[in-house]
Amino acid sequence: MKAARKTGLVFFPAFDWAISETHPEREERLLYTQDQVFEEGILDIDGLVELKPGLATARDVERVHFCVPDPETVTTKSHLVAAGGCIAVADAVLGGKLDCGFALVRPPGHHAMRVVHGARGFCNINIEAIMVEYLRHAYGVDRVAIVDTDCHHGDGTQDIYWHEPDTLFISLHQDGRTLYPGSGFVSEMGGPNALGATVNIPLPPGTSEEGFLTVMDRVVLPILEEFKPELIINSAGQDNHYSDPITQMNFCAQGYARLTEKLQPHIAVLEGGYSIEGALPYVNVGLMLALAGLDYSWVREPDYDPERIRQDAEVGRFIALTCDHLLELRETCEVARRTSLAGPEFVRRNRTIFYDTAGVVENQREMVRVCRDCAGTVSIDSHADTGYHILAIRIPRKACAACVETGWRWFDQADPREYNCIGMQDGQSDLYQVKRE
C-alpha cells in the first residue's frame, strides 16, 4: 500500500496527562485510537510518516495570546506538546517534505481566545492559531483558511481571527442554542475590518452525513474557492459522531472520511471527540486514510447502522434554509464594510466570557480601529474575577503606519497603576512586550 499523498502524522496521546481522573479529557482518551491505528498498521504505510512533536515555546504562545499572568501559569507541558505537535506537522508540510499532515494531539485548543485567564471548554491555548502564526512568521504564509468541524463552535479561533481579513474561519457546529459554548450564529461574520472572513454554520441536533456534506458542497467549498487560501487547516473535532456522549449529532466515520476527502486540508488537528471507544478509533483511521488518498471504504464502526442515524427530513430542510440565509447575508458584507468605513474611527464591543473549565468570569471591553488599509489595531481591557485586570494591545501583522502609531500610543499612554499588566503584541515586528508598575 502506498499513499497517494505524502502524509505526516504526529501521534501524541499524552498517556500521562488528564484534567482530572474521570474528566473526558483524560489519559484513556486516545488509548483505543492507538490500538486501532497500531493494529491497522497505518504507520507502516509507504508515504505515511510518523513525526515526533517538540514543545511550543513561550514566544510561539505570545505571538497569539495574552496569557494572564503569563504562559507558564496557564499552560502545562501537555499544552505545549499539543501546540508543538501541530508545529512539527506544519514544518514538514511547509518545508516541502510532505503534502499534508495530521496532528493527533491532546488536549484541544479551539475554545482558547486571544486573552487567556485559564481553561475554557478543556482548552488553554489555541493550538491551531499558534501553528498558523508560527507559519506566517517562519515561512511568510499569508492567506490561511481554518475549517472547524468540531461539534462545538470554535469560539476561541473565531475570537483570535475576528478582525483579520487574511484568515478565513469557517465553523460547522451544533446550534449554539443547544450546546456549549452557545455562540456561532450565522450573523457572526467578523469585525468591521474583516467582514465575511468569519463564517458560521450552526446545524440542528441530529445532522448526519447528508447534512454535513450538503454544507460542504453548498457553503464551505465555494467560499474556500473564492478566498483562495495558500493553506487549509482543519480543526478536526470528532464529536459530531452519533456515539459521542456530550453532543447530539449523527455523523459517522465514513462521513468524516468523505468530508476530509472533499476538504483536502493541508493540516488537520484533532480537537474534541469523547466517544473514545465507539468513534475515535474508526474516525481517526478514516481520516488518516482519506488524508493520504487511500481507500477508506472498509472503515466503519462495529455498530454502524445507516438506518438508525438517517437524517430527518425536517433537519435537512432546516440546514438548507440556514445555507440560504448565510449566503444571502454574505451578499451584504460589502455594503456593511463601506458603511463602517464611513462611520466612527473606533468601534467598541463589551463581552462577558465564561471559562467553564477553570470557573473564571472575564469582562472585556474591546476597541478596534476601523481601517481602510489593514486589519486594524485592537485593544482589549480585560477584567477577570480572579482579580486580574489587564490591557492587551494588538497591532496586526500587516499593519499600516497609522495603526502602528495608534497601537504604540495606546501602550505608552496606558497607566500601569490601573492594570496588573499592559501587554503589546506587535504583529508587524513580531514582538511581545509588557509593562507593569
Binding site: 500500500m1 501521534f11 481522573e21 501537555s78 471507544e277 472498509w298 462495529p302
Partner: protein
C-alpha cells in the same frame, strides 16, 4: 561450546573453551547445499575434539532468509478475518488469500461471528488447489484469539502446517501479523527438514546436546521450538555478529558496532553492553514482520564496493563488481586502496596500485592521494550511516510527556569494529570521527562467537481489561478471569511468571534469566464519570545477552 554461522560467502565456526576461542574455522559456503556447509564446518572445527565434550551447539544460518529473499517458498493459504478498517485486499500476499467474515474489536470482544461453513469452504478450495500449509490471522487476535483457534479446529485436518497469527507476536499490527504468519508457514517445511537433518547428523557424530538455533534478536531457541516458530530464525546473521562483540563491550557505555563486510556494512548500537532492538519487527524481502530483531542499519559500502569516477567525482558503492583487483577482481575497491597504501599487506599489491592509478588519472591525482581519497570517502559514508541510525533511534516517537521530556537519547562516542578490513580502517575511522575505535578480538569470526555464547531470549505481552474481567497473553495461550481492582503490579508479576516459563520452554537456564519490563501502562476506564475498570498493558523480555557461564568466565 560450538557456534556456527553460515553467511553468504563464508561459514564461520568456533569452539569456545572457557573464555578462549579454542578453535576457529572459516570455509566457503555452498549456497546450494547449506547442510553440507553446516556439517563440514562442524567437523572441521571439532576435529580431534571428543564430541561428547561439546556442551552447547548453536547454529545460525541464512536458510530461511535465502528462501524468503529468493522466493523459494511453499504456497500458503491465508485465511484472514479482518472486520472493519483498512481494506484487507491490500494485505493479499498471493492468490491464496481469503478474507472471511468475523471480527474482534480492540478490547477482544466479538463484533461479528465467524461463519464455520465459509471457513470449511475455503479449506476445500485450498485443498483442491494442492495447498498444504495455511496461516490463519484475525484482526485483534492478540486481544482474543478465539476466531483463529476456531479456524484451526475447522481446518486442522488435512494441512501439514497451520500457523496462527496470535502465536507469532503479542504486538498489535494486523498487516505485519499476516506477513509474519505467512512467512512462518512458508518457511516451516524447509526449516523442519533442514534442522532435523542437522540434528540427526550431530547425533551420528556423537554430539549429545540438543541443537539450538540463533534468532534475529540475538537470542537462541531450542530446535524443537523452531518447528513452530521457523520465521524467528530469519536474519540471524547480523545478530550473531553483534552478539560476538558483547563480551568485549563496555558495560557502562554506549557503543556502535560496525560489521564491515564485502558489499555492506551493518551498524548496530549497544547500550551498556545490551544491543538495541527493532521497535516493532524486522523487514525482509519486502515483508514487514513482527519478528523481534536487533536493530541494525545496513549501508551499501564495504571492502569490495565498486570504486569509480563519475563526472569527475569519486564514487564508492553501493554496487559490488567482484573482489578487489588485488585478488583478481575486475574493478578497484576500498580494499585495493588499503593495499596500495600498504595498510593491508595481503593480495597482489601491484595490481591494486595499477587499479588505483587508473582512477588517479581520471582525477588528476597520484596513487597515494587517490587511495587516501577512497579510504576517506569510505569512512565518511560509514560515519554517515552511523549518524543516520543514531538520529533514527533518537527521533523514535514517544507517547507520554514524561518520555518526551526525560526520554533518554543515545549519544555513542565509541566504536567496535569487526569484519575483514576492520583493523586497517580502525585508525582512519578514529581520526575522521574523533571517536575511540577498538577492533574486537577474533573479529573475523565474531559472528560464530556470538552464536556460541548468546543466551535464550523471549518476550511476552500481557493485557488485562478489568472491566471485562479478563487478563490474557494469547501468545502463551493464557487467559484467565481477573478482579476489577487488579493493579499494574499484579499484572507485572504475572508477566514475569509467564516470561519465566516461556524462557525455560525455549531452553533457557533457570539461573540465567535477566528479565526486564519493557512497557507497563495502566489506564482508568471511565464510563459516565465513573471508573469501571482498568486497562493494563505489560510487555516483558529476557534481554539479549551472553550465557551466564561465559559471562562469568569472561569477567
Amino acid at each position: 561450546m560450538l557456534g556456527l554461522d553460515v553467511g553468504g560467502t563464508h561459514t564461520d565456526v568456533v569452539v569456545i573453551h572457557g573464555k578462549e576461542v579454542a578453535r576457529k574455522a572459516k570455509i566457503l559456503t555452498n549456497q546450494d547445499n547449506l547442510l553440507e556447509s553446516v556439517l563440514c564446518g562442524m567437523l572441521e572445527a571439532t576435529a580431534g575434539i571428543e564430541p561428547r565434550l561439546i556442551q552447547r551447539v548453536v547454529v545460525s544460518t541464512t536458510l530461511a532468509t535465502n528462501a524468503i529473499v529468493e522466493g523459494r517458498l511453499e504456497p500458503v493459504g491465508m485465511v484472514v478475518a479482518s472486520g472493519p478498517g483498512v481494506n484487507p485486499a491490500s494485505f493479499a500476499i498471493d492468490d491464496h488469500f481469503y478474507p472471511v467474515r468475523g471480527a474482534i474489536d480492540h478490547r477482544g470482544r466479538e463484533i461479528a461471528p465467524l461463519r464455520d461453513e465459509e471457513i470449511r469452504d475455503v479449506g476445500r478450495i485450498l485443498k483442491a488447489a494442492g495447498i498444504r500449509h495455511v496461516a490463519l490471522v484475525g484482526k485483534f487476535s492478540t486481544r482474543n484469539p478465539g476466531h483463529e483457534l476456531r479456524m484451526r479446529d475447522l481446518l486442522a485436518d488435512g494441512f501439514d502446517t497451520v500457523a496462527m497469527g496470535h502465536q507469532v507476536s503479542g504486538q498489535l499490527n494486523f498487516p505485519r501479523r499476516i506477513a509474519t504468519a505467512y512467512l512462518n508457514a512458508a518457511v516451516a517445511p524447509i526449516s523442519r527438514r533442514f534442522y532435523e537433518a542437522v540434528q540427526r547428523s550431530m547425533e551420528r557424530q556423537g554430539f549429545r546436546v540438543p541443537l539450538e538455533i540463533l534468532k534475529a534478536d540475538g537470542g537462541t531457541m531450542a530446535q524443537q521450538r523452531s518447528l513452530q516458530y521457523a520465521v524467528e530464525t530469519i536474519l540471524s546473521g547480523p545478530a550473531a555478529s553483534v552478539m560476538g562483540t558483547v563480551a568485549f563491550a563496555d558495560p557502562a557505555k554506549e557503543e556502535v558496532v560496525l560489521d564491515i563486510g564485502g558489499t555492506t556494512t551493518d551498524i548496530a548500537i549497544l547500550v551498556n553492553g545490551v544491543p538495541l532492538l527493532e521497535r516493532v519487527g524486522i523487514s525482509i524481502g519486502g515483508y514487514r514482520t513482527l519478528v523481534r530483531a536487533l536493530r541494525s542499519h545496513s549501508i551499501g559500502v564495504g571492502g569490495d564496493s565498486w570504486v569509480r569516477v563519475e563526472s569527475g567525482a569519486l564514487k564508492v558503492g553501493p554496487e559490488r563488481k567482484g573482489r578487489a583487483v588485488a585478488y583478481g577482481g575486475p574493478e578497484p575497491t576500498p580494499t585495493d586502496a588499503l593495499i596500495a597504501l600498504g595498510a593491508e599487506t595481503s593480495g597482489h599489491r601491484q595490481r591494486a596500485v595499477d587499479g588505483i592509478q587508473r582512477l588517479g588519472f581520471q582525477l588528476g591525482k597520484g596513487v597515494r592521494d587517490t587511495a587516501e581519497m577512497i579510504v576517506s570517502k569510505t569512512g565518511s559514508l560509514i560515519l554517515g550511516g552511523i549518524e543516520h541510525l543514531v538520529r533514527e533511534v533518537n527521533s523514535q516517537p514517544v507517547y507520554t510527556i514524561h518520555q518526551l521530556l526525560e526520554g533518554k537519547r543515545v549519544d555513542p562516542r565509541d566504536l567496535i569494529l569487526i569484519g575483514a578490513p576492520a583493523k586497517e580502517l580502525a585508525s582512519r575511522l578514529g581520526a575522521a570521527s574523533g571517536w575511540q575505535v577498538r577492533v574486537a578480538p577474533d573479529h573475523e569470526v565474531a559472528n560464530a562467537i556470538g552464536a556460541a555464547v548468546a543466551r535464550t531470549t523471549c518476550e511476552v505481552t500481557v493485557v488485562a481489561d478489568t472491566a471485562l474481567g479478563y487478563v490474557s497473553a494469547p501468545e502463551e495461550g493464557y487467559r484467565a478471569a481477573i478482579d476489577r481492582n487488579a493493579t499494574e503490579e499484579e499484572i507485572v508479576k504475572l508477566a514475569l511468571t509467564l516470561l519465566w516459563n516461556k524462557a525455560l520452554r525455549l531452553g533457557a537456564d533457570e539461573d540465567d534469566l535477566t528479565m526486564e519490563i519493557l512497557e507497563a501502562q495502566q489506564f482508568n476506564m471511565v464510563k459516565g464519570f465513573h471508573r469501571v475498570g482498568r486497562s493494563i498493558r505489560v510487555r516483558a523480555q529476557v534481554k539479549p545477552g551472553l550465557i551466564k557461564t561465559y559471562r562469568e568466565i569472561a569477567a
